[in-house]
């Protein structure tokens, strides 16, 4: 076993043998970092919801805006629940990328849920709105607003649209709720299409 002296190994073979562990280590490090980053996105999304639940409860109790953490640039505006799927999430003000990392966003310039017009909530397809694909026509969506008002919506239909031609009219007659996420639901790449779930207020 030890008989083969190291010098018998041609130098051609030695060079890569020093390189490949280094390459392997770099690949492993970058790989671990990327996986960590991916997990962080999910962890952040999950943890934020816990903090948001608290802030939202405080808001409903106090009737004022409560920031979930001191440096937050957004705040909870509503709690959304799909009882059949036991899915729920706290909706944040604004549909910016920063807010969407923590929870569904209430798209700017659309009315509050339950008010006349169409309220639009959007969230990431792989975190908070991962359940959206299972939502079917007839499902009930319950929205509790910051001011404590609760509205019940009934899903009417679902649709795939382009982000810039959604056809959603925030001033449409009646009271509607639209939930939006990226389409296709299982894709990993960003694209121009959105999956929207339309619901009408049920009395």
């Amino acid at each position: 076993m030890t008989a083969a002296p190291p010098t018998s190994t041609p130098s051609l073979c030695r060079r890569p043998s020093r390189l490949s562990p280094a390459t392997a280590a770099i690949f492993a490090l970058v790989g671990v970092w990327l996986i960590g980053d991916a997990l962080y996105i999910h962890a952040k999304a999950a943890l934020a919801q816990v903090l948001l639940e608290r802030a939202f409860a405080a808001e409903v109790a106090s009737g004022t805006v409560v920031k979930p953490w001191s440096w937050a640039d957004t705040w909870p505006v509503a709690r959304i629940e799909v009882p059949r799927l036991a899915a729920h999430a706290i909706v944040l003000a604004g549909g910016t990328g920063q807010a969407l990392a923590f929870g569904p966003g209430h798209v700017e310039r659309t009315p509050d849920a339950g008010e006349p017009g169409t309220a639009v909530y959007a969230a990431h397809r792989d975190t908070h709105f991962a359940f959206l694909g299972q939502v079917a026509a007839g499902d009930e969506i319950v929205v509790t607003r910051r001011d404590g008002a609760t509205s019940r919506f009934r899903v009417t239909h679902t649709q795939v649209v382009r982000w810039d031609s959604s056809g959603i009219d925030p001033a449409a007659p009646g009271r509607h709720l639209t939930l939006a996420t990226c389409w296709p639901l299982d894709s990993a790449l960003p694209g121009p299409l959105r999956y929207v779930v339309h619901a009408d207020l049920a009395n």
Binding site: M1, A4, D37, L39, D126, T127, W163, S166
Partner: protein, 780 residues
């Protein structure tokens, strides 16, 4: 990918190695030298494969049957499709040649635009054309074959009627209208199939000078603008059914449809509108450094005071301003320039005088209260926000300990860092730097509220402070007038210094806002310019201003402009254009540099011959008249009368006058259709398309009364079947489709991608480790 599989593969390779040592050794000997490269290639291929697979999944994904048009690749380079009813036709093309002859204090630019119609139909081409805001546009020529039709100046309404008549009658016609002092619309009617119509526009402009440096700027593209939505009237009910509507609000951008041409998405479309530029620079003094700031150029030097500047690459896409600066060979530029021109029965004079720099004046400088305002709206996305942040950080570093300051950021919302200005101590400056560094560009551009906040003077009684507002923006808004009104009403003792950021800022807004705010306009067009330009600005902020300037003429009547000479900052010259009754007196300019009086006397008879001075005088008088209206010093009727008189007499395009040229002979046969084509513009260099149009979309759904052109659609692909999923550039949707609904935000994270890439790398690293095992066995 689970651990078991990996273990299994580990076992396999081991047993193989044990079973046949020698082949394994040979194998490793043959392949190991290139192994890292091989791995890199494998990795790249694997990642590419994953992306392709995902892309495929995306394209094939929708089960709803929505077709995704993938024919973008089929689109012919440089062609644009225009939907005319149900058919698609190619849009006309435009190539531009700009020739600038610069002599002494003025320049004359000749812009030759070639409109080519590659389609089989008759078209009307409409091009939204940028021109310098100080330029006097006085000549229009239309060349058809070997005929030249010279344009005439007419009242705007009349010119439009003449043009429309010609258009209907099938005659070729060109119309140049002013939308803003720096935005003109150029319409060319009845370009036949395969035909090229050449349109030539000429303008006169003064050369800009600050300190030792002279400059000229040719805007090549009108940047997309943020146009705030009109305010809707609300109703207050008294309680018995009778109500009262609120004050009727005007739309802040009444002409929004005229200043929002389609914009190409540079990721989809190749750049369009090629431009060639030649500058014949005849400075009148030996030249030192001549520099083009944003374009590569070739410079020839036939004489020591003459240069010929040409683009290095012959043509460039019209996507950024062309900026040329030059300095004298001597250390100091001449401090006085005096030029005259005789036109009709009047003499016109142009005087430039640079006040001296006083070495000891620095000490008299008061402590300052400075409010920095930074625009972080979507149009600033890309390189602009980087420039703005770098500029502001530079200025923060130069604050003195006895100064007070605050920082305000805005998009369609705004935040002030401190509730009031604070002392410029190390703590506060550090906080401000953190605030600025964290800014990201997104959102609309509501410029009035932050200007209002910056001008609110809480220390009005305390004359200990010199109050300055430094406003960093690209100025891409359509409601300029609202901002001017705000500055005029609230300026008080504050002075407003505009810093224009980006490759094509709205120089009209910048210049006028600085003028009303009695400050200066600094332009920063690239990151490389930040240091030098900001240093100059900071020097201006720190040095005493030249105030109380007056000009008197002993030789008789003088009609001078600007009517009220503005205050000057370090290095800036007094520029006076005047119409004189006789050329035999002296012009005396007086003012205060800091606390010291300053006088200079110029014998007018010694003036050198200049050209185009009357046009510059008239253009400047028009600017004065418009300014008086803005400041509510003159009524609208009075202003209109003055502007119209000046423009018609001096043959200038203005808000109220247009140039129109009509061919005498009809060319379009009766019955042949004519379609209208708005020529698309490039997105200014360094801009982020999504930041502008992704954001703007959200505002547009409110604007239901926007005059749209629903029959006009531009498509990037060559496919002709209308499909529900539009592959057209978003700009088209913005321009023509206002009822598209709420724009939905991006709702995809890259978590999955990262996870997959990470796992892939881990597997590869394991494979790498494993691949070494066989050799270890042979070594044992």
């Amino acid at each position: 990918m689970n651990v078991q599989t990996m273990d299994a593969s580990l076992q396999t390779s081991r047993s193989e190695a044990n079973g046949s040592e020698e082949p394994s050794h040979v194998h490793s000997r043959r392949h190991h030298p290139s192994f890292p490269i091989g791995v890199a290639i494998t990795l790249a291929l694997a990642i590419a494969a994953i992306f392709a697979a995902l892309g495929g999944a995306r394209a094939g994904g929708p089960t709803t049957g929505l077709p995704i048009v993938s024919s973008l690749a089929d689109a012919r380079i440089g062609s644009l499709l225009l939907r005319d009813g149900e058919r698609y036709v190619e849009a006309p093309r435009l190539a531009t040649d700009i020739d600038i002859a610069l002599s002494g204090p003025t320049l004359r630019a000749r812009i030759t635009q070639m409109f080519n119609n590659p389609t089989a139909n008759w078209v009307e081409a409409v091009y939204v054309n940028p021109l310098p805001d100080g330029g006097a546009v006085d000549t229009l020529k239309m060349v058809i074959g070997d005929r030249i039709v010279v344009g005439e100046i007419k009242e705007r309404v009349e010119a439009k009627a003449i043009y429309e008549d010609a258009k209907r009658a099938g005659r070729k016609a060109t119309l140049i209208e002013q939308e803003r002092p720096n935005i003109f619309t150029n319409s060319v009617a009845n370009i036949g199939p395969g035909e090229t119509v050449v349109v030539q526009i000429e303008y006169q402009e003064p050369v800009h000078r600050t300190g030792n440096e002279s400059s000229l700027r040719v805007p090549l593209v009108v940047a997309p603008r943020y146009n705030p939505a009109p305010v809707v009237q609300t109703v207050d009910f008294g309680g018995r059914g009778w109500g009262r509507t609120s004050e009727p609000h005007r739309d802040p951008v009444p002409d929004r449809g005229r200043i929002t041409p389609p914009v190409l998405d540079p990721r989809i479309e190749p750049p369009t509108n090629p431009v060639a530029i030649t500058v014949h620079l005849n400075a009148g003094f030996p030249l030192g450094d001549v520099k083009s700031h944003h374009h590569a150029v070739k410079i020839d030097a036939p004489a020591d005071d003459t240069r010929v500047i040409r683009l290095d690459s012959n043509v460039v896409p019209a996507d950024r301003d062309f900026e040329l600066t030059w300095t004298p060979a001597a250390t100091e530029a001449p401090s006085v320039g005096l030029f005259r021109e005789h036109v009709g029965d009047a003499d016109y004079l142009l005087a430039l005088v640079t006040p001296p720099l006083l070495a000891d004046a620095q000490k008299e400088a008061l402590a300052r209260e400075i409010v920095f305002v930074i625009d972080n709206s979507g149009s600033m996305g890309g390189t602009s926000i980087t420039q703005a942040k770098a500029s502001l950080l530079f200025a923060l570093d130069r604050l003195k300990s006895n100064d007070r300051f605050n920082v305000i950021r805005f998009d369609h919302t705004m935040d002030a860092l401190f509730t009031d200005t604070v002392a410029a101590d190390a703590d506060n400056i550090a906080r401000a730097k953190g605030f600025v560094s964290a800014l990201q560009a997104s959102g609309g551009t509501e410029m009035v509220p932050p200007m209002r906040a910056a001008l609110s003077d809480r220390r009005g009684q305390d004359s200990q402070y010199l109050r300055q507002v430094v406003f960093l923006t690209d100025g891409e808004i359509g409601n300029e007038q609202e901002l001017f009104d705000t500055i005029a009403a609230m300026r008080g003792r504050s002075r407003v210094f505009m810093v224009g950021i980006g490759s094509a800022p709205n120089s009209f807004l910048m210049t006028r806002a600085a003028e009303i705010g009695r400050g200066t306009f600094t332009h920063i067009g690239s990151v490389e310019q930040v240091q030098q330009r900001m240093r100059e600005l900071v020097e201006k902020l720190e040095s005493p201003a030249v105030t109380g300037l007056t000009a008197t003429y002993t030789g008789g009547a003088m009609d001078a402009t600007p009517g009220i000479l503005p205050d000057l900052y370090r290095g800036e010259p007094v520029v006076i254009a005047a119409k004189l009754g006789a050329l035999d007196g002296t012009l005396e300019i007086k003012g205060m540099i800091g606390a010291r009086p300053w006088t200079v006397t110029l014998p007018v008879a010694k003036a050198a011959e200049g050209t185009g001075l009357s046009k510059l005088w008239a253009r400047r008088k028009i600017t004065d008249a418009e300014m008086a209206k803005r400041l509510r010093q003159a009524s609208a009727e009075e202003t209109n009368k003055r502007v119209l008189g000046l423009a018609l007499e001096h043959h200038l395009v203005s808000r109220l006058t247009s140039l129109v040229a009509v061919d005498a002979t009809p060319s379009r046969p009766e019955g042949a259709r004519l379609s209208r084509a708005e020529l698309p513009l490039n997105l200014p260099a360094g801009w982020d398309f999504d930041k502008v149009f992704g954001e703007r979309k959200t505002n547009d759904h409110r604007i239901n009364d926007q005059p749209s052109t629903p029959t006009l659609e531009r498509r990037a692909d060559a496919g002709s079947v209308p499909v529900p999923v539009k592959p057209a550039p978003a700009a088209f949707a913005v321009a023509s489709n206002t009822s598209a609904g709420v724009a939905l935000p991006k709702t995809a994270t890259d978590a999955e991608l990262k996870l997959m890439a990470g796992l892939l790398l881990l597997v590869l690293s394991l494979l790498l480790v494993l691949s070494r095992h066989p050799r270890h066995h042979t070594a044992h």
